[in-house]
Symmetry: C2
Subunit: 341 residues, 2 copies
C-alpha cells in the first residue's frame, strides 16, 4: 500500500524516551483559556520560539556515527532551522541549514545567533531537500529532516503527552471528548500529537488545520496518497511555516491512521487570530502559529462540541509584519464590530 | 514605630493557604530564559492578563458578612480592577470598581466583560480610595484594596512560592544566590514575593523596580516612612500600573523588612523592554509589566552576579499604544544597532 502498513508508526515508548531527553530543555508550556471552550497550548514560548525544539533535540540526541562526528545538515523554512541550530549548540555539534531565500529575517537571525551556517536556495521545498542531501553526501554529515524522521515525530509527540497530562490536571475525565487542533505544514507535529493522544486519551478528536492557500494535506488525505500543490500557490499564504507543498511520507502514514479531519482557514481569519492572540492571550504568534486559533474562532461549526485545545505552534514573526498586520486588523471594520472598547 | 513592628507580616501558612485556594484558578506561569542569566516569570499569561488575580481571588474567598452578602468594592488603575471583577464573577459576588478616567481602554473593557460596575474618578490615587470608601459605607459592601490588605499580599506571594519551586526544579541549589526583580506600584506584589522568597530561599536577593518618573518607594525606603509623589508627576510614566504615589502601609512594612533594594528605569528602557519581550520572548507585556526586563537589560551593573528572575507582571496594553510603541522602538537607531537582522 502506498501509505505504509501502519505497523511502523512511532510508539508510546519512543515518545516517552523523547520526553525524558527533553526534560530541562523544553518548557512545559501552559494551556491558556480562550473564551468558553478554548485552551491554547502556547508552544510559541519554547526556546527558539516554536515547538520545533522538541523534535530537533530528540533527533540530535540519537545521531549515527557521521552525525556525531561531522555534524548535521537540515532544510527548513525557518522554525526547524532555528531548533536544529539551538539543539546543535546545546549538544556541541556542527550544523548547516538550507533555507529558502524568502524566509523571515527573524528566523534567519535566530539560526545565525546559534552559530549554524546557512545556505540559501529558492522557495520550493524540493530545492531545499536536494541541496541538503548534497551537503550531507559531500561532508558526511547526517541529514535531519524537519518532519520525515521518526525521531522528530516522537519529539513533537511530547507536546501531545503534555496535553494529555494537562487535561488530566484540569480534571477532565479520560473519556471526556476533547478536540485538539494542530497546524499542518509537512505534518510532523500533527502526526506526533495525534499518535500520542490516540494512545493516551482515545476519546480525543484530533484535527489538522491548514491555510486554504496550502491545503495539500486535506487533498492528500482525500486522495489516499500525498498530493503536491505547486510552490507558487502555497507561497501565497502569510503562514510561511505551512507552505510545504505536500505532507512528508512518514508523518502522512501517521495522519492517515490517526487524524480525524482537516479544517482550512483563510488569510483574513489568520490575521484576526494573530491580533486576538495579542489582545486576549498576550501571546505573540506568527501567522502559522495562529491557524488553529483561526479555526476555533472562525469555524466552530466544523468542530465537535466540548473543549478545544488549539496548539499555538510558534511566535517567530518579523517586527514589521507584526506591526503592519496588527495595525491593519485593528482598523478593520470587522475587528471594531467584534471588539468594542 | 511608623512602619509597624514586623510581627504582623504575612506568614508562610497564609501564603500556602492562598496557593490552595488558587489551584485551578491561576496558571502556573513558566519561567522563560532571556539571555545568559535571565529567567522571565510570565505573569502576563494569567487570567485577566496580570498577577492580580492571585491576590483578588484569595481576598474574595475570605470576605466578611457584608462582602458575602452585598459584594465588594475596589479601586484600581486597571489590573486589580479586572482581577476583582473576574474573581467576583467566579465566586458569584457583586462588584463595583472605582477607576481613574485615564485608565487604558483595554483594562476598562476587561472589567466590563466580567460584569462589574465601574465608577470613574480623576487620576489621583486618593480620589479612588475616598470614593471606594464612600460606596462601601453607602451600600454595605466590603472594600478590597489592591495592595493594603494581607489577604491580597498573601495571594501575590504565591507567585514567589512558585518561583522558589521552579528554581528547585531547574536544579539550582537552595543556597545558590539568585536575584528576583518585582515591579512596585503600591507594593503588594513585591511585598508578597519578597516575604515568600526570604522564607523559602533566604539566599535570594529581592529587588523592586520603579519607573524613574514614579520612584516613590525608593524614596520611602530611604526616608523610613511612606513618602508621596504628586500624582501629576507619577502620571507621566507610560507604566500606568505603577503610578501609585506612595507605597501602601501594609506592603511597605513588608518591603522595609525584606526588600534588598530598588532599581529605577527610564521611559526609553521601558519601551525597549516591551519590544524585546515581543521579539525574544514572544510575550505581549504592558509597560508596567516590562520594567523588570528593563532593569535587567539596562542596569545589569546594579544587580548581583548570577541568575535573575524578572517578574513580567502584566500584558494589558491598548492596541494603539502597543503598535505605536513597537513601531517607534523598531525604527530607533539604538534598536537597529543592538538587533541586527
Amino acid at each position: 500500500v502506498e501509505s505504509g502498513t501502519h505497523d511502523d508508526l512511532i510508539t508510546l515508548e519512543e515518545m516517552r524516551a523523547a520526553a525524558d531527553r527533553l526534560r530541562g530543555v523544553v518548557v512545559r508550556t501552559p494551556l491558556l483559556a480562550l473564551g468558553e471552550r478554548g485552551l491554547v497550548k502556547a508552544e510559541s514560548l519554547q526556546p527558539t520560539g516554536s515547538f520545533k525544539i522538541r523534535g530537533a533535540y530528540n533527533a540530535l540526541c540519537q545521531l549515527g556515527d557521521d552525525g556525531r562526528r561531522n555534524g548535521v545538515v537540515s532544510h527548513s523554512s525557518g522554525n526547524h532551522a532555528q531548533a536544529v541550530a539551538r539543539a546543535a549548540r546545546l549538544l556541541g555539534l556542527r550544523a548547516v541549514i538550507v533555507m529558502p531565500d524568502n524566509a523571515p529575517a527573524v528566523k534567519v537571525a535566530g539560526v545565525r545567533a546559534d552559530g549554524a551556517r546557512i545556505e540559501f536556495v529558492g522557495p520550493a521545498n524540493a530545492e531545499r531537500v536536494a541541496r541538503a542531501h548534497e551537503i550531507a553526501g559531500e561532508q558526511r554529515m547526517e541529514l535531519v529532516s524537519s518532519a520525515n524522521d521518526r525521531r522528530v515525530i516522537a519529539g513533537q509527540a511530547t507536546c501531545g503527552l503534555e496535553i494529555a497530562e494537562q487535561l488530566d490536571d484540569l480534571g477532565l475525565a479520560p473519556d471526556e471528548p476533547v478536540t485538539v487542533l494542530a497546524p499542518i505544514g509537512l505534518g510532523g507535529l500533527a502526526a506526533g500529537v495525534a499518535t500520542a493522544l490516540k494512545a493516551l486519551r482515545p476519546a480525543t478528536t484530533v484535527i489538522g488545520v491548514e491555510p486554504a492557500l496550502a491545503a495539500d494535506t486535506r487533498d492528500s488525505l482525500a486522495a489516499g496518497r500525498p498530493v503536491a500543490w505547486p510552490a507558487d500557490q502555497t507561497g501565497r499564504t502569510v503562514a510561511d511555516g505551512l507552505r510545504g507543498e505536500a505532507p512528508a511520507a512518514i508523518p502522512f502514514a501517521h495522519l492517515q491512521r490517526h487524524l480525524d479531519g482537516v479544517v482550512v482557514v483563510d488569510e483574513d481569519a489568520i490575521g484576526h487570530a494573530v491580533a486576538a492572540a495579542v489582545g486576549q492571550l498576550k501571546l505573540v504568534l506568527e501567522p502559522s502559529g495562529a491557524v488553529t486559533l483561526a479555526a476555533l474562532m472562525t469555524h466552530p461549526e466544523q468542530l465537535p462540541e466540548g473543549r478545544v485545545v488549539a496548539i499555538a505552534s510558534g511566535g517567530n514573526v518579523d517586527h514589521d509584519r507584526l506591526v503592519g498586520l496588527l495595525a491593519r486588523v485593528y482598523h478593520s471594520p470587522e475587528w471594531s464590530a467584534s471588539n468594542p472598547s
